[in-house]
């Protein structure tokens, strides 16, 4: 009986442990596969948010619903919509967004299976900088899906080349020996301007 339990338990534990880790090869592969779309989305997003900030969250992984965060100077409006709901276009128009640009961003997000797009303000030497932030869920295998803890690839697109150490970890410009953590995560180099991490949260 003990032997049977061991035969069952060992592969289950190995599978469980394997399902908790994500290789660092996959985000690089994801970036290479979706490189054109990612950079196109970055450009489109830059144009769409030139005057007003916007963040898009995909609420369900079947892409049936989404959430828009429309930001003015003092108020952040959060609206939930079904995918391609006409009401969404009306709302975007009302707040002065270019609906065709936002629609193209949404289509790209669906193609890349991205779940979150945002821009992030940060300050280097007191100067305001802005980076483009996009995340996508990792394709994971789970023995018991209801208990599954999702993981996401988070990509940062900087306007300027960044500093990295020998292991490819993003460094703080102000103190080059110090790692730069964003949302408490260490980011790794893809190229001079783009870096990634793997996280349990998509934003």
């Amino acid at each position: 009986m003990n032997k049977i339990i061991r035969i069952i338990a060992i592969p289950v534990v190995v599978l469980w442990l394997a399902s908790c880790t994500v290789s660092r090869v996959y985000p690089v592969r994801y970036y290479e596969e979706n490189k054109l779309k990612l950079h196109e989305t970055e450009t489109l997003y830059g144009q769409a948010t030139k005057n007003k900030a916007l963040a898009i969250a995909i609420s369900n992984l079947d892409f049936s619903s989404l959430s828009l965060e429309l930001k003015t100077d003092t108020v952040r409006y959060i609206y939930d919509f079904d995918w391609a709901e006409p009401r969404m276009q009306d709302t975007l128009l009302r707040y002065g967004y270019d609906t065709s640009l936002v629609t193209r961003i949404l289509e790209n997000m669906r193609t890349m299976r991205s779940t979150w797009i945002n821009s992030m303000d940060h300050y280097i030497d007191g100067k305001k900088q802005n980076l483009f932030f996009i995340s996508a869920p990792v394709r994971q295998f789970s023995i018991f899906p209801p208990m599954q803890k999702r993981k996401y690839y988070l990509f940062n697109f900087y306007r300027q080349p960044q500093y990295y150490d020998a292991e490819g970890r993003l460094l703080d410009k102000r103190k080059l020996k110090q790692l730069r953590k964003i949302n408490n995560e260490i980011f790794y180099r893809i190229n001079d301007r783009v870096c990634y991490t793997i996280s349990g949260k998509f934003r």
Partner: protein
């Protein structure tokens, strides 16, 4: 002997009653705000503080001025656990800007400051961290806010901080600064001397049959703070099993009926006023704590 006992009881109740009398104002306290700005003007420049080596005096004063001029834009950072301190600061800045400014100036100059009788005197590890935060949005360029939040987080402790009481760099994002409902209420009572009321707890949601109407009623009478499960309100992952615990404090600004039986909730959320339409069911699901303080008690402090 009996008379002395009665006299002591009367004395205690008299002082207790005197302490209960502070109430918030309906609008931003503009006369005090102007007075606080004139205090800043009269200061001109201040010398760099040895207690806060990473905060330049000019940045510090500029931050205080910004808070006074735009009190609703005081930022709690992108990923910190400062939301509860932000909600408390909201009412401090709105109602007592002079007290806030005086406390902050003392804190910078002497390394300790008093907000009423609450002493804020953070240790060196905390003081060294202020002014160095990065990737927290506008909080990056607000060193005075960093100092204020860190000092409050050091001063007020609850059971959530039991295993992490001493500050290490990066602790602003974790349990060191976490706040349970009782600690939040205690902060409001001690800093602002409010006679507040509260429903709910850290794990069990309050049983309020008509929650939106209840919040509307309390909001008409005073300030209302909500303790929410933000992982449901603003999803951060797609796990089927979500944590059913509250994680976020907000100041309720408005609540009114929306479309299809939903309610529109507008709340102050650390730098932003956020507006979202929610169903009554969702609102009940996310609300774990309601704290309110009335405008109506007479104030003579």
């Amino acid at each position: 002997m009996r008379r002395i006992f009665l006299f002591i009881c009367l004395l205690i109740s008299f002082f207790a009653e005197a302490q209960k009398k502070r109430v918030p104002g309906r609008m931003i306290n503009d006369p005090e705000r102007l007075k606080a700005l004139s205090i800043l003007d009269s200061l001109g420049t201040i010398t760099p503080s040895t207690f806060w080596p990473n905060i330049k005096p000019a940045d510090f004063l500029q931050n205080l001025r910004r808070n006074l001029e735009q009190p609703y834009q005081m930022n709690t950072g992108r990923n910190t656990s400062f939301c509860a301190f932000g909600a408390v600061s909201f009412t401090c800045l709105k109602n007592e800007p002079v007290r806030y400014v005086q406390c902050m100036i003392d804190l910078y100059r002497k390394g300790e400051g008093f907000y009423r009788n609450i002493r804020l005197a953070p240790p060196e590890a905390v003081r060294l961290a202020a002014g160095k935060m990065i990737f927290q949005g506008d909080l990056d360029i607000c060193p005075a806010d960093q100092a204020w939040y860190l000092s409050l987080a050091h001063r007020f402790k609850g059971y959530l901080n039991f295993f992490n009481r001493n500050y290490q760099p990066g602790d602003e994002n974790n349990m060191w600064a976490a706040t349970n409902l009782a600690k939040f209420n205690r902060m409001l009572r001690k800093l602002c001397k409010y006679q507040l009321k509260s429903k709910g707890s850290d794990l069990i949601r309050p049983s309020v049959p008509k929650l939106p109407e209840f919040l509307q009623e309390k909001l008409a009478q005073g300030e209302v703070y909500l303790y929410l499960n933000n992982s449901v309100f603003r999803k951060k992952n797609h796990n089927r099993l979500q944590k059913w615990i509250p994680t976020h404090y907000v100041v309720l600004m408005e609540i009114y009926p929306g479309q299809n039986g939903n309610w529109v909730v507008k709340y102050w959320d650390g730098g932003y006023k956020t507006l979202k339409e929610v169903s009554v069911r969702s609102l009940k699901q996310i609300t774990y704590g309601i704290t309110w303080v009335s405008y109506n008690t007479t104030s003579d402090e």
